[in-house]
């Protein structure tokens, strides 16, 4: 089983930090959680911050990256081009809703699932019905 890092890329530092706190409750200590959120005190994303966080992930971890919108993706792609090839091969940008997708990934990672399945669960969060149908 590969060790997993979840990296949250958001325009808002509060959102990124808050989501990491929330994920910490669900993922347990064995999942590495971090964010590259905000542009200092401003709203925005910062490719150099993303690069730094990628470099800080434990060196044999598979890294799953969740992003909020628009330029968060562009900055993530930019950052991935500028880091070492070793990091590139371990990093996966996940096409999933930020909160629900990251939660699905955290729970799946804690359960020790393989990385492909964790990504699959995160992607499926797109279609998750949040309000159960009444019986």
């Amino acid at each position: 089983m590969a060790n997993i890092s979840l990296l949250i890329v958001s325009h808002s530092r509060d959102l990124g930090a808050g989501l990491v706190t929330l994920l910490g409750q669900l993922a347990g200590p064995e999942v590495d959680l971090r964010h590259a959120a905000g542009l200092g005190d401003n709203i925005g994303t910062d490719a150099t911050f993303i690069m730094k966080q990628l470099a800080h992930c434990p060196h044999d971890n598979e890294i799953l990256i969740f992003f909020d919108l628009g330029s968060a993706l562009m900055n993530t792609q930019m950052a991935l081009e500028l880091v070492d090839e070793d990091v590139q091969t371990r990093a996966h940008i996940v096409d999933a809703p930020l909160v629900e997708g990251a939660i699905a990934a955290a729970v799946s990672a804690r359960a020790g699932m393989p990385v492909e399945q964790i990504i699959q669960h995160a992607r499926e969060a797109k279609w998750m019905e949040k309000i159960p149908k009444e019986a």
Binding site: L39, G44, T45, D46, S71, M74, Q77, M78
Partner: protein, 216 residues
């Protein structure tokens, strides 16, 4: 001919123009995006300008790299990685050189255009900065001389004004569909100003387009 001191002068001149045009760029972006293009660009290029003056070097590649990395960490929106891509392509093209001629400038502009297409995944006609970079790069390719640079600046300005009639296919403006028509793309305007100041630093005597009366 572009020297390192001309490059630094270009960044300075472009920053000054962004200062003047910040309200206009924000206003355009407010109409079809999230309203911060002028603010973001001004913040980014001020930071780049400061970094350049504090780290002198005679390598155009290193200077371009410094601008790119500074923009990445200070712009915040999509224009950060897009303009950073431009300067990273310049950096790759001009590595180790203290001055480049019109041919090498042309090659760098063409590379930058290609980089923007890859980064933004946009095509001509989608109301993005590609609508300016593409015809400007082509103009230079057809005439890789200083007079080609002047022509590219004119073509860039016309193309930026022309984005008014386009419907956005990328970015936040795409959500507006037909309602994005009627406003010039702010990234195209900042790109046209880029070509204007670039040509002015290298050739001189370029007339400043009166953007506020032209596009607002």
């Amino acid at each position: 001919m572009l020297t390192t001191s001309a490059f630094v002068a270009f960044i300075q001149a472009y920053t000054n123009r962004l200062d003047e045009l910040q309200p206009l760029l924000d206003q355009l972006d407010n109409q079809i995006g999230d309203g911060d293009h002028g603010t973001n660009m001004t913040r980014g290029f001020h930071a780049a300008n400061e970094r350049l003056t504090s780290t002198p070097t005679d390598d155009l590649g290193a200077l371009s790299q410094t601008v790119a990395m500074t923009l990445l960490s200070s712009v915040g929106g999509a224009s950060g990685p897009l303009y950073a891509t431009v300067f990273l392509r310049f950096s790759a093209q001009w590595k180790g050189q203290s001055q480049v001629d019109a041919k090498e400038i042309t090659e760098a502009i063409v590379q930058a255009r290609d980089g923007l297409v890859v980064r933004g995944k946009a095509h001509v006609g989608e109301k993005t900065m590609i609508d300016v970079w593409s015809p400007a790069a082509q103009t230079l390719q057809e005439n890789p001389t200083v007079s080609g640079l002047l022509k590219a600046a004119t073509v860039a300005a016309e193309a930026a004004v022309g984005t008014r009639e386009l419907v956005a296919g990328k970015g936040r403006a795409a959500y507006l569909g037909e309602r994005s028509r009627g406003t010039c793309d702010p990234g195209s305007v900042s790109s046209a100003v880029f070509f204007e100041e670039f040509a002015n630093v290298i050739v001189g005597g370029v007339e400043k387009t009166p953007w506020p009366t032209l596009v607002s």
